[in-house]
Amino acid sequence: MMNNHIWRRAITIITVLLLSLALPMAAFAHPLGNFTINHYAGLNVSREMITIDYVLDMAEIPAFQEIALFDANGNGQPDSAETTPYHSAKCESIRSDLDLRVNKRSAILALSSSSIEFPPGAGGLPTLRLTCNFNTPLTNETTNISFADNAYSERLGWREIVLTGDDVGLQGEFASTSLSQRLTAYPDDMLSSPLDQREISFGVDLMSASGTSPAAAQGDPSLNTTREDAFTQLITLEKLTLPAILFALGISFVWGAMHAMTPGHGKTIVGAYLVGSRGTMKHALYLGLTTTITHTLGVFALGLVTLFAAQYIVPEKLYPWMGLLSGLFVAGIGLNLFFQRFKSSGVRGWFGRLKTNHPVLRPAYSPALQSTKTKAPEHKHRFVLASAYDHSHSHGHFHPHDHDHHADHGHHHDHEHGNHDHDHGHADHSHMPPQEITWRSLLALGISGGLIPCPSALVVMLGAIALNRIGFGLILVLVFSLGLASALTAIGMLFIYAGRLFERFPSQGRIIQLLPILSALFVSAIGVGITLKALAELGIV
């Protein structure tokens, strides 16, 4: 295995290394490390043709591998006899990795010239710098051009595409000067990331002499591609002009409202239900206000926890515990409801009365008919079915986190409600002041609806703190919460009207009458499920 070839290579390497130790470290550094392959493509569009000034800069390791491929005499050095055929052949092979399309049709690039250099890199070891010039003619019909660089697509590296025009109009987002000065001076500070531009697409007007109009020239074009979601992006708005702020607030509001509408929000339907069942507009507004305040405070609190206590509490660690808590809550409420209902059904000959469809048991939603005994079970039924549906829905969307906390919201409210039943259920003929009940339940509901901050809002808050824009962040979160609450309230109002329509239909059939008990079992089962899941996440089961 050992032969002279390897020895010679080794001696060369060692000599170079020894030399390099005597020299100060070369200032030339690759932005990503010594195995990167870096790309630059400078596109120039004129009326007749498009040219591509393509540079490939291989750091020490790939340069070594590449040199080994054409080092025919095995001296480890790139001699001109070896490199001359190499660089044009290499450019030809790069050509097949470049995808240039003119008016969406693949264009054939011609190689006009090529060259190669071996600038010393770390420790004086050679790097490889290949330059290829391609071109292709353009016709007058050209309206758009796209270009993609697929060479060494898996290897780490700086990838930059720059576009200029000679007396032609260009439309699109592009840079017209090279940040790296054609891969000769990589920005080396910690605050800039390597570019990763692999493709570009732009419009062309060959007849326009207005020159180039780059939309994002000089800037860091890569920033334009990091958009996450419209809401979280708002906090990084460059300049806070009045229209920009108004626009930001509008987006926040809409985003909050949309957040309330997304699947998996038990709180939406529960809130809607409570309001719809016996509430008025006043209740709906009250609910909205509670949710807004709670959500805003919640975002603040969790933001502060994340900022200052992250080293003690890992936020992700909290979620299973929250899940466990809510699971136990829900299971407890469900069992409580079940026993209560089952017992009352036995004592009062519930089944017997089902048959007769006793008028007292006929569901009557009218607030005027204040018989809580007949009304409450129906309530539960509608609520539970709605939330159970909601539940399985969010489940199907692999949203374990959402799933937990929204289940929490929903059933948390039921807890309050159930307690109320328990307290007052036997006072058959007492005319309960509905206002009082509703306010209490509404408060609990509003709080639980806003208690756990939505992730987007949290991101905005943290961003605001980091950017020292706490005031702006607070306003955005507040408006987001308002949007959330408005959606809740709006659905609530809808239900108020819908509920009035339903009053006219007497419900019949045994199954419907049995549903209060079944619903209690449903709640219990879901609670048990959530609890077990949380336990499993905690590694206890």
Partner: protein
């Protein structure tokens, strides 16, 4: 049947329906893993990619250059980037960022503990230990830094102290990273079954708690490694594939699959996997393994290019850091190249790092240099923990053989092949032949 019974029956049916609907979540999320075929990472949260996260934090720092927390976060992200891409220069960037954070806010414990872990990742174990202990003194609530302390102990060969700390942390806070360390400890102590259980639990919990895709893929990779090390290469392959599904183009999983295919004798596929891994990151161990397969299949020219590149990277890295010293020493010994240099590298490394694999590396270099007595001495240290690693037993067997202790050689070689018949494409065959020769000698 009375109505009440009907109702109860109906109730139970509903409970069963609900529970079975939820069971998909909680039964699979038992501490152990689902079948590897069922793992694809689609349930993992979509955390912003590390590049996007880095840009976001960079922008924050631009707005507020005195933000020590963001610098710390940036350091943390550079560490994650180095792990994900295999580009060790990320650690240097992380070091710069964390030093910046500490300059703004001296004594900021999260930055200190991350900096210690950067030193650790760059194989500066003593430095990592010193810093981590200092950080821990100032903030005894920082459990992150305790892990760095224990890790450094482990790498320096102080297994007792490492174990004490791991167990202590485990009493209050069992996380996947801790489980992975306990698994490694069990592996070192020769408890392969316990190690496998622990690492599966770590992977399962990481999968369920929604870590980054790279971290989940890493745990799955470790499950694969542990299967491979006990000779169960089919399971190993399945977990490497799962790891690859969770984190696209994961270079370590690609190399793992290369290793499995080579063990199965599917050399073309093995070459394909290794080449793919090398296209992403030309890591010296990948290149060496690819070279070995080329050698085995008679493609000596191709093999030579790979071997030369390994050497080149070792030298290049030596200019900046020490990460590949041991790998290079082992590579030289394994390929009978620069044997005196191999011994030098191994002994230098052992001076600062007395763990069992340091002793093994020195033993093997001594053996290749024909110094069997010292090799034996080093090998005894390497096997002191009772680690059931086929390669250790192979080395011990060959050293015993060279010293003429045929009984011991037979035992060790037999043990090596029992633990993992596929332990090395270079040496499995050699072990078998030597053992056969020894046995026929003993029989005859």
């Amino acid at each position: 049947m009375s109505k009440r019974k009907t109702i109860l029956l109906l109730s139970f049916v509903i409970i069963i329906l609900v529970v079975s609907n939820l069971s998909g979540v909680f039964f699979n999320s038992s501490p152990y893993l689902p079948d590897p075929e069922d793992i694809d990472g689609s349930t993992l949260a979509t955390i912003p990619s590390v590049d996007v996260a880095i840009k976001t934090v960079q922008n924050k720092i631009k707005q507020n250059p005195k933000d020590a927390v963001s610098y710390t976060l940036l350091g943390d992200l550079y560490i994650r980037q180095a792990r994900e891409t295999g580009d060790v220069s990320g650690y240097q960037r992380a070091e710069t960022a964390l030093n910046q954070a500490l300059e703004i806010l001296p004594g900021y414990s999260p930055a200190g503990s991350l900096l210690a872990s950067v030193y650790y990742a760059q194989h500066e174990f003593a430095k990592a230990l010193t810093l981590a202990e200092k950080v821990y003194e100032s903030n005894t609530k920082n459990s992150q830094v305790r892990i760095v302390i224990a890790d450094s102990y482990l790498s320096l060969g102080n297994y007792e102290d490492a174990e004490v700390i791991y167990k202590e942390i485990g009493e209050t806070n069992v996380t996947p990273p801790l489980l992975a360390r306990l698994a490694h400890l069990a592996e070192l102590k020769g408890n392969s079954d316990e190690a496998l259980t622990l690492i599966q639990r770590a992977a399962g919990e990481a999968l369920n708690s929604g870590g980054t895709k790279e971290s989940v893929a890493w745990y799955l990779l470790r499950v694969g490694d542990m299967y491979f090390n006990t000779g169960e290469i089919r399971e190993a392959g399945a977990y490497y594939e799962a790891s690859l599904r969770v984190f696209d183009n994961y270079h370590l999983a690609l190399a793992g699959l290369g290793k499995v295919r080579a063990a199965q004798g599917k050399y073309d596929q093995a070459i394909g996997y290794y080449q793919h891994a090398i296209n992403i990151v030309p890591q010296p161990d990948f290149l060496a393994a690819l070279g070995d397969i080329y050698m085995l299949t008679g493609q000596t020219d191709e093999a030579k290019i790979q071997y030369e590149t390994v050497e080149y990277i070792g030298k290049l890295a030596a200019i900046n850091q020490q990460i590949y010293n041991r790998q290079l020493a082992n590579f030289y010994s394994d390929h009978d190249m620069h044997l005196d240099e191999a011994l030098d590298l191994a002994l230098t490394e052992l001076e600062s790092r007395k763990d069992i694999y340091g002793y093994d590396s020195a033993a093997w270099a001594y053996y290749k240099n024909g110094n069997y007595k010292d090799a034996q001495h080093m090998m005894d240290q390497a096997m002191a923990l009772g680690t059931r690693d086929a390669l250790l037993f192979y080395h011990a067997g060959m050293i015993a053989h060279a010293l003429g202790d045929n009984q011991q050689a037979r035992n060790h070689l037999h043990q090596a092949l029992t633990i993992n018949p596929y332990f090395s494409i270079l040496y499995s065959e050699e072990a078998r032949k030597t053992l056969d020769a020894l046995q026929s000698q003993a029989g005859g």
